[in-house]
Subunit: 483 residues, 2 copies
């Protein structure tokens, strides 16, 4: 019987990175286009990755004292309007429910673009005394922002995310929480997604509608472009005042709470794909990979039973050790087909088992990151695979960090910035006087924006000037083109 | 300092079961009313219960070969209309999005009441060959059905649920899947929620809009009323034909797939509350309880350090054994307050530790189900608590089964049925000729409906008659009033 040939069919990264991304997402069956404009179907392989990302973050939220809850997806129009900047920022891209069945609603309902308003309305009932504080709640939910230009995972009309919403007694506590969750995001991206990020504060023009201060983590993708991978907002008392969230303090004085909110989304799936993938397809970070190890048995008719039995034994051993393993025993395709397919799907380790391997008491282990192969003694398999997964994570992270280091430059003028961005992209440090005029001029000339004012390294060096105005720089900031 | 007094403030079950339910949900902080009509805020304690229920089912779905995925919440109007019975069943309670921002949409979008249409549209692209089958996918999501009369958890405009959607090569396979998942529901409700259910087929008038056959699990609540706790549908080829889900079979003939869908929802939280709770509040089934064991230290000023240290040690030991335990070390309230509060919240086991207990080398363990107390030697604590949780589950399930047995009757006539329902409610077996006329007359006279045609015991006994028409019975069925 003729066996099916493997068709990789993905554009190379150098030829067209955006097309490579679309091809990879579709061919690896991470997601596809849905019947609804700007929305996607997240397919099982893509969703499994999201589940592992979700669990990694959720565990950290719980370890820092947060609890999950769930609030309605509908926002009454009057609620959305209570915080002036908030409604201005979100209203243009909000879907409105006007009817139920044949009946017209007396008040229109927005589908949540974020839940500050609905959640603050609940908090106003829950908070009475300083004893009720802090409130540390997170929600996993779907939200909608009707974007003009969409891109699977990175920017879709509907997406999945988590949104933390906390209330505190003092400004200091709320500011601490804002920074704590920013650091949790940074740590989780590094240790689970193998994606290093730069923590910093957003400029006034880029902050969340309704926040006092917004902080972000910024990742660098394989093409040198930046991606905002998560945000943490210090909301001050803006929403507390709009929604009357007050508490009686120990000193018997009624006060407004101080709030934060913070979120990461299915965009992180895009970050993983674009950060690690190569011309053969995906490369999954081992700790969140849906499948960490794939076993491909290689046999002739005469050795089939022997090899398949051994392959299933290896699968059972690894599974018992808590490793996410799959034995690909399909008979309709050749081993070469399977190699290509699992490479496309980015499974970190592939174990090949043939009759000669069994004879010699070893297996072949191939690494997706560099396609290197090694013989591993059969008796040491479980600890060796566990270790190989850790080493794989470390190598993937080191590679990503190396890229950030290679593609981070310094520019003194707008011309220098332009030149760097057209030559190699990446992050570019430059002086900034703090004005929105500079931001606008840079954007117009280069399409780059200030990604953030990094927590580290943003102190202006002596004599540093704004790259546009030539005025003394207030900060050193990171410019980049972003998705 | 005067310590706060505990106010239980819940109506007794005998006085008004519905009010008892609302009081308990609110006071135990499971949920509260939201700013949006018919929607609720699921508070952390209620959501934690849902997370454990979700995980219990999710694990079983994965063990039976299903994968999770995610599809858009919007359903284009033209899609909803493709299956005639389906749109007729759901259109009256569907919210319609007509505008985004200021812009009017060219086609209205419904918020999903269930996802057959959107998912079938995707499956039509995914299925080409018999090799692509079966498709075994589940989705955890929010859905909206704008109900006229709502009740927290049992019936809310928006609710959380899972919906399985599968495609099969043959009718037989699809029918097997329908029954497999019905049995998974039944087993999970018994072994995790301690809620026994009756599996059976819904009558024609009660089946899912668009299904060929609908099966349900029916629970009996503490007041003797029934609750449909989950449904599993054999969809035949109805949606396959409407959405053109075809595959090339091994015999080279193009065929429509056979489908199933099945779901359980946050309604199960209501089932747990109403099934197990008593006049003191909730009783949580141990396997899904957010907190399985609460420790209350009891001390005077002189023994405070000694007792608190011991309490924290016990907490650490139980936590290390994987038990969900909380040490309530609050100093603002007395132990009696804590006892009442954790009883209201239904924590299965309470450990009391005082200086005399430490001296004697034991702790006091109190069971929420019957308030019985026992001394447990300190050295045997961990295994004793693990065992006590299992025994608690078994006792809770046995109690629920006893209720079903006590409150299941048999009626030969409509008058007998009426009398039973007004005396003690419960499930009532009766003969049914299969006509919708009987169903309507019974409903009119008693508000009871056929819950289902049970998988076991529905064979009519010799000479059994329909309770209304007096015609020969086609089935023995279960009637009950339901939420």
């Amino acid at each position: 019987m003729a066996k099916k040939e493997f068709e990789q069919g993905i554009t190379s990264q150098d030829e067209d990175f955006s097309q490579w991304y679309i091809d990879t997402v579709l061919k690896a069956e991470m997601a596809d286009y849905s019947c609804v404009r700007g929305c996607m179907n997240i397919r099982p392989y893509g969703y499994a990755l999201w589940e592992h990302i979700r669990d990694a973050f959720d565990q950290r939220f719980k370890a820092t004292g947060h609890q999950n809850a769930y609030f309605p997806m509908f926002v009454p129009e009057s609620f959305l309007q209570k915080e002036a900047e908030h409604v201005e920022g979100f209203a243009p891209e909000v879907p409105w429910v006007t009817h139920v069945g044949e009946e017209k609603l007396t008040e229109r309902l927005a589908i949540r673009p974020t839940s500050e308003t609905v959640i603050c309305a609940a908090y106003a009932n829950w908070v009475k005394s300083y004893r009720d504080l802090p409130i540390l709640i997170n929600q996993w939910a779907n939200v909608v922002r009707w974007e003009k230009r969409t891109r699977m995972f990175l920017r879709t009309s509907e997406f999945l995310w988590q949104e933390g919403h906390t209330c505190h007694r003092t400004e200091e506590e709320a500011r601490e929480e804002t920074m704590r969750m920013l650091r949790v995001y940074n740590e989780c991206c590094e240790n689970e997604l193998a994606v290093p990020t730069v923590m910093g504060q957003k400029s006034e023009s880029e902050k969340f509608a309704g926040a006092v201060d917004t902080y972000s983590i910024e990742a660098m993708l394989a093409d040198g472009n930046a991606l905002q991978a998560g945000t943490s907002h210090f909301l001050g008392q803006n929403f507390a005042k709009a929604f009357e969230i007050k508490f009686l303090d120990e000193d018997n004085i009624e006060k407004y709470v101080w709030q934060t909110s913070w979120g990461v989304s299915t965009r992180l799936v895009g970050a993983v794909i674009m950060s690690h993938g190569d011309n053969a397809g995906l490369i999954m970070p081992p700790r969140i990979a849906p499948i960490q190890v794939v076993i491909v048995p290689v046999y002739q008719e005469a050795t089939k039973t022997l090899v398949l039995e051994e392959a299933l034994k290896v699968e059972a051993e690894l599974k018992a050790a808590g490793i996410r393993v799959k034995c690909d025993a399909r008979e309709t395709v050749r081993p070469g087909f399977k190699f290509n397919e699992w490479e496309l799907k980015g499974v970190p380790l592939r174990i090949e088992i043939g009759p000669r391997d069994i004879e010699k008491g070893h297996v072949v282990v191939a690494r997706r990151i560099d396609k290197e192969k090694a013989f591993v003694p059969r008796a040491e398999l479980v600890p060796a695979i566990s270790k190989a997964l850790d080493v794989f994570h470390a190598d993937l992270l080191a590679r990503a960090k190396q890229r950030v280091s290679d593609l981070t430059s310094e520019a003194a003028t707008l011309d220098e910035l332009s030149a760097i961005l057209s030559e190699k992209r990446g992050f570019v440090w430059a002086g900034w006087d703090g004005s929105s005029e500079t931001e606008e001029k840079v954007k117009e000339a280069t399409k780059a924006t200030i990604r953030n004012i990094p927590l580290e390294g943003s102190e202006p060096t002596a004599g540093l000037k704004d790259l546009v105005s030539g005025q003394p720089a207030k900060y050193r900031v990171l410019f980049a083109r972003a998705y």
